[in-house]
């Protein structure tokens, strides 16, 4: 898997370089709240995260690669602090001005004193976009399904969902954006285990 990531990234960037389109880079900061409910006990880790996004838009297709990381501090007893790192690759296809379909995957790792937990979270979903007529900007709502998730942990998820939304405003080469995303995993174990990531972030995008 770790060897596949550079290959995928190279393929995407090759597409980026060869296609005629609009390339942009973004910097963002946010707050990530990770919650785990296991046998009725809720563990919570949260902290500031930062990262960057590279996006290429060509016609109705957009390719986006996001990398972020940070340290999540324990917010409950007997919960370790973890170092978080993740990279997300997504492809958007917008058949209309107000709807985009997307698919991709997030690779994330949580490193703590207890070990490293890795996740591969493929997703397919849709984004409803509503551009404003009076100001340069838009708002959007996003929903997706997590399918075929895998982890190196002892339990595997049966599926999950993503929901989120945000806004992007700006004119010319600069855009300000803010968004919220909630990813929720359900597990096949009988004790109703649930895991959830909620992240709010904001940043600036520069169109090159």
């Amino acid at each position: 898997m770790t060897r596949a990531v550079p290959l995928i990234a190279t393929a995407i960037l090759s597409f980026v370089a060869s296609a005629e389109g609009q390339l942009s880079v973004s910097g963002k900061v946010g707050y990530l709240d990770r919650r785990l409910s296991d046998r009725g006990i809720v563990e919570r880790q949260a902290g500031a995260v930062g990262g960057g996004v590279v996006t290429l838009v060509s016609g109705r297709v957009a390719v986006s690669i996001t990398a972020s990381g940070g340290r999540l501090s324990a917010q409950t007893r007997d919960t370790p602090d973890v170092d978080y790192g993740g990279i997300t690759g997504e492809v958007f296809v917008a058949p209309t001005k107000w709807l985009a379909l997307y698919g991709g995957a997030r690779l994330s790792a949580y490193v703590s004193s207890l070990g490293t937990q890795r996740w591969i979270l493929p997703r397919v979903g849709a984004e409803l976009r509503a551009p404003f007529a009076s100001i340069p900007g838009k708002v959007f709502l996003r929903v997706a399904a997590l399918v075929g998730t895998t982890t190196n942990g002892p339990t595997s998820a049966s599926g999950g969902a993503i929901i989120g939304g945000g806004l992007a405003v700006g004119r010319g080469k600069f855009r300000f954006f803010a968004d919220y995303q909630l990813e929720r995993l359900n597990f096949t174990t009988g004790d109703a285990r649930e895991e959830q990531w909620g992240e709010v972030s904001a940043g600036v995008r520069v169109i090159l």
């Binding site: 919650r35 809720v42 007529a133 708002v139 945000g166 803010a178 909630l182 959830q196 709010v200």
Partner: protein
């Protein structure tokens, strides 16, 4: 004697019969005159001069002249002078008939010397531009002071041309013609009057002529029609886009807030982060709504419409100015309406 009887009998002939035969009488008289049958010609001309004959003033003047000449050629000088006296009194403008020779001229001059009369000579139609003067030819048989004036149909003097000393044929000018608009667009009857007072003596005479004075309407331009509403562009946008922006912000914000509320129900915790983003999204919608309502004016269209209105106003002002000058340049028309009185 028998000629006198014949004359009385001819006077008893009905006017309708005369009206049908004035031209015939004149023709027969002319034939007789050319055949040197002057007594016959005199009889015929006398019948033309009968009041009931229906002859026009011009026919009478002609008959009067030829009657006098006929009498003179017939050797009846006294009758000739008497006839010429009537001619001069009625038509002082008549020149001496020198073409008929010295004896006729002498009889005419003798008659003119015995008569004090004033008259208007051949008043023709005149078309006067602003600033022009109307000219009328008058004649007096002796040196006189002549006053000319214009009377309206009620007898009121409209314009006094003043008094001037004159002898023989001269002209009277009407120079201070008022605004043509005062005379109206349709022909109105007026009377042109000349009154003469003998300079050496006490005799007076007055003649008048009905005329019409009017100012035909100016050929003015039509005002440009008002601009139709369809040529104007919309100067402001509707509020619908602004309302839609507000709805987008509020609905997406509500969706974000609701999603977090659903998500956290079993994992405890607050949804403040989601509410913050939901609030930012809703705020963006409100800002877009306010901006949309305040920025409704389409400045380009407003400028276009203003230019259209200014162009129309310029065209209208140009037409008004042109019409004003055309009205100011209206001409006055003076026409004789009938025969001298």
């Amino acid at each position: 004697m028998w000629r006198l009887l014949l004359l009385h009998l001819s006077l008893a002939v009905p006017a309708s019969l005369y009206a049908q035969t004035v031209e015939e009488l004149l023709s027969r008289a002319s034939d007789a005159f050319e055949n040197l049958d002057f007594e016959d010609a005199a009889q015929l001309y006398t019948r033309v001069l009968d009041a009931a004959s229906g002859a026009t003033l011009a026919q009478r003047d002609s008959a009067q002249l030829y009657l006098g000449v006929s009498y003179e050629f017939a050797g009846q000088r006294a009758n000739a002078v008497s006839v010429f006296r009537v001619l001069v009194r009625n038509s002082p403008c008549a020149p001496a008939p020198e073409v008929f020779g010295a004896s006729v001229t002498a009889a005419f001059v003798e008659a003119r010397g015995e008569v004090f009369a004033v008259g208007l000579c051949e008043v023709r139609a005149q078309q006067l531009a602003p600033g022009d003067a109307a000219t009328f030819r008058i004649a007096v048989t002796r040196p006189a002071l002549v006053q000319a004036f214009l009377q309206d149909s009620t007898g009121q003097i409209v314009t006094d041309f003043g008094e001037q000393a004159t002898d023989g044929i001269s002209t009277v000018q009407w120079t201070d013609i008022p605004d043509p608009a005062l005379f109206g667009e349709h022909a109105k009857p007026y009377t042109l009057v000349v009154h003469a007072r003998e300079r050496q003596g006490a005799q007076t005479d007055q003649k008048s002529l009905p005329i019409s004075v009017y100012a035909p309407p100016a050929d003015t331009l039509a005002h440009p029609p008002p601009l139709a509403d369809s040529v104007f562009l919309a100067e402001s946008r509707t509020t619908a886009p602004a309302v839609r922006d507000l709805a987008k912000g509020l609905l997406v914000g509500a969706g974000i807030a609701a999603s977090s509320a659903l998500a956290y129900r079993s994992l405890e915790g607050e949804s403040g982060k989601a509410l913050a983003v939901a609030g930012a999204v809703s705020f963006a919608g409100i800002v877009a709504f306010i901006k949309g309502r305040s920025g409704r004016e389409i400045t380009g269209n407003k400028a276009h419409n203003t230019a259209l209105k200014n162009q129309w106003a310029a065209r209208r002002d140009s037409v008004v100015a042109e019409n004003r000058s055309r009205i100011a340049a209206r001409q006055l028309i003076i026409k004789p309406l009938g025969e001298r009185q």
